[in-house]
């Protein structure tokens, strides 16, 4: 059986069957992530369709075949962000530089465990898109900080800061709901 890298190499040369195989391998995950953003079937399918089109048109620009999945999910996240944010792109400014004092370097995955009483599936819609992207990848996809950092193309420190802020927001929201 061909590996993903072999499929990618073939797809880059214009092999449609290889490209279709690559999408088939990831289709369920892609659809479900899209669904978490928009919470309805039609919009999720639209996001998936646009993601496939973008990936097909630009696969020859992908330099290293082993990063195909990271690259594909990045396209999906950006497409979903566009869809949910009226075409506003995620712009990560220099927050990381400004908040180095928060000692983020010392934080580890365990620091981002969720409190038991957060209804994340519902609460996630209240988050700013820059937090939402990270929360979806971390808690629904079970990705590590390093993997999210690769997909969103931002330093791990930035991801940690945003994740920590997102959790803070979710906890505050939770408190308000209990009042």
């Amino acid at each position: 059986m061909d590996s993903i890298e072999t499929f990618v190499k073939k797809a880059k040369k214009g092999d449609d069957e290889a490209f279709t195989n690559l999408i088939d391998i990831n289709k369920v995950k892609l659809y479900k992530i899209a669904y978490i953003y928009v919470k309805n079937e039609q919009d999720a399918l639209d996001i998936l369709s646009d993601t496939i089109c973008k990936a097909y048109r630009s696969i020859n620009k992908l330099k290293d075949p082993k990063f195909f999945n990271t690259w594909l999910f990045r396209i999906l996240i950006n497409t979903a962000t566009d869809k949910t944010q009226n075409n506003k792109r995620i712009i990560y400014i220099d927050d990381y530089e400004k908040i180095k004092s928060e000692l983020i370097d010392n934080m580890c995955e365990a620091d981002f465990n969720l409190p038991a009483n957060i209804d994340l599936y519902r609460a996630i819609d209240t988050l700013d898109i820059k937090y939402k992207n990270i929360v979806i990848l971390k808690y629904f996809q079970d990705m590590t900080i390093a993997q999210i950092s690769k997909i969103l193309n931002h330093p791990e420190g930035t991801i940690k800061v945003y994740l920590s802020r997102a959790l803070k927001k979710l906890k505050i929201q939770l408190k308000e709901e209990y009042i």
Binding site: K27, L48, R57, L114, F140
Partner: protein
């Protein structure tokens, strides 16, 4: 707890249309890719043609021999030839790079058509490029002579029939026919019919030139201007120092008659539609020259001019107070070199603006200097060069070893 979210994720039911959507998306992507390939190839062809056109225009403007080779090529030739002699290279770059605003409006009267081709501007300095043509075969040359420039409310900002002033140093011995106009409303205006207009007109049947309007003091140029022309002539007759009497004499000798004046009414509106430009600013640059301390409080690069505000100091040896750089007002070419100028890393110079080569000391002991701009030229470094300081007391016009101050 995290497992609960995994569970939520796993429980999202997958759409039954998923496979169909994937299939259709790949077909759509394939069609789009094909279309974009065709578009890309067409774009390359078009840009190839455009590049040749740009190379042609740049070639004409940068090489006299190339320009003379293509002298007889219509349309481009007159513009190219004229621009070679323009006194402001930044403006030539703006036109050649397509950074000027296209206007392309023509008005005709008494067999003469006036076309405004394009314009380049900022709030204090505007260049309007025009072309003049006549159907009358007896006409041997066309120069813009009597005109007014006003705003939308009917206020006249510049009137060419009044207050002509001596040619500024930058135009002396330049190839062209010029008018330098002063206005009591706080504006200056330079009309440049560029190149050897008589011979250009003989070969191309048109004159190409520019009108530069400069706002002085705190004035600014309105976004909408009205140009009203009432007279064109074949040759300027001037008595002022600096204007070429020889050109008038040449006309008489060549055609054995006096120049014809064409009166009529040509009116055109010129509206600025460009967005606010990005302005480069450099502050607090200190330097010393001839035992005197100076500070460039601010230096601003606008599209068509550069402004410097320089704090003047006192000579530490004889206590004389500096009041300026270079002779404040001159029409003599031999004093040209005493005026301050800017120079970039390629050796291109940016001279004092033709409308503002005098300056008065402000209440805070600073002066304002206005230069031609480097805005449309891609440069890394810019230096101010000063070779003469004027002192209030003591020895005036003190020549110094030129000082080069880095601005950018």
């Amino acid at each position: 707890m995290n497992n609960d979210f995994k569970e939520v994720f796993d429980n999202i039911s997958v759409s039954s249309k998923l496979d169909k959507v994937i299939k259709e998306s790949i077909i759509r992507a394939k069609a789009q890719k094909k279309k974009s390939f065709i578009r890309r190839v067409s774009f390359k062809l078009v840009t190839g043609v455009a590049t040749i056109a740009i190379l042609f225009t740049v070639g004409i403007n940068s090489s006299l021999s190339f320009a003379s080779t293509v002298k007889n090529v219509p349309i481009v030739s007159s513009i190219a030839e004229a621009l070679q002699f323009h006194y402001d290279k930044n403006i030539v770059s703006a036109v050649n790079q397509g950074d000027s605003q296209k206007v392309n409006q023509t008005v005709s009267n008494n067999n003469v058509s006036l076309t405004i081709n394009s314009m380049a501007r900022d709030n204090n300095d505007e260049f309007i490029f025009y072309t003049l043509k006549s159907n009358d075969k007896n006409i041997k040359n066309l120069l813009l002579n009597n005109f007014t420039i006003g705003d939308n409310s009917g206020n006249v900002l510049v009137d060419s029939t009044r207050n002509r002033f001596a040619l500024p140093p930058i135009l002396i011995n330049k190839n062209g026919d010029f008018l330098a106009l002063n206005s009591s409303k706080g504006f200056k205006c330079i009309v440049s019919s560029l190149g050897d207009t008589i011979s250009n007109y003989a070969s191309n049947g048109e004159t190409y030139g520019s009108i530069e309007i400069i706002a002085l003091d705190n004035n600014s140029i309105p976004n909408n201007l009205k140009l009203k022309v009432s007279n064109f002539t074949e040759a300027y007759s001037m008595d002022y120092l600096g204007y070429s009497q020889k050109k008038y004499a040449d006309f008489l000798a060549k055609f054995n008659r006096k120049p014809i004046d064409i009166n009529g009414n040509w009116q055109l509106g010129i509206s600025n539609i460009s967005k606010n430009p990005k302005i480069e600013t450099y502050n607090n640059i200190k330097f010393a020259a001839n035992n005197t301390d100076f500070q460039i409080n601010n230096f601003k690069i606008y599209p068509t001019h550069m402004d410097a505000n320089i704090k003047l100091g006192v000579n530490k040896i004889d206590n004389s107070t500096a009041v300026g750089f270079g002779r404040p007002s001159t029409t003599h070419q031999d004093n040209y070199s005493s005026l301050p100028y800017l120079i970039d890393e390629n050796g291109s110079k940016y001279m004092l603006s033709p409308g503002a080569f005098t300056s008065q000391v402000n209440a805070d002991k600073s002066i304002n200097l206005t230069f031609q701009s480097s805005y449309y030229t891609n440069i890394k470094h810019l230096y101010l060069v000063i070779s003469q300081i004027i002192y209030e007391n003591g020895k005036p016009y003190t020549d110094i070893t030129p000082v080069k101050i880095q601005i950018k």
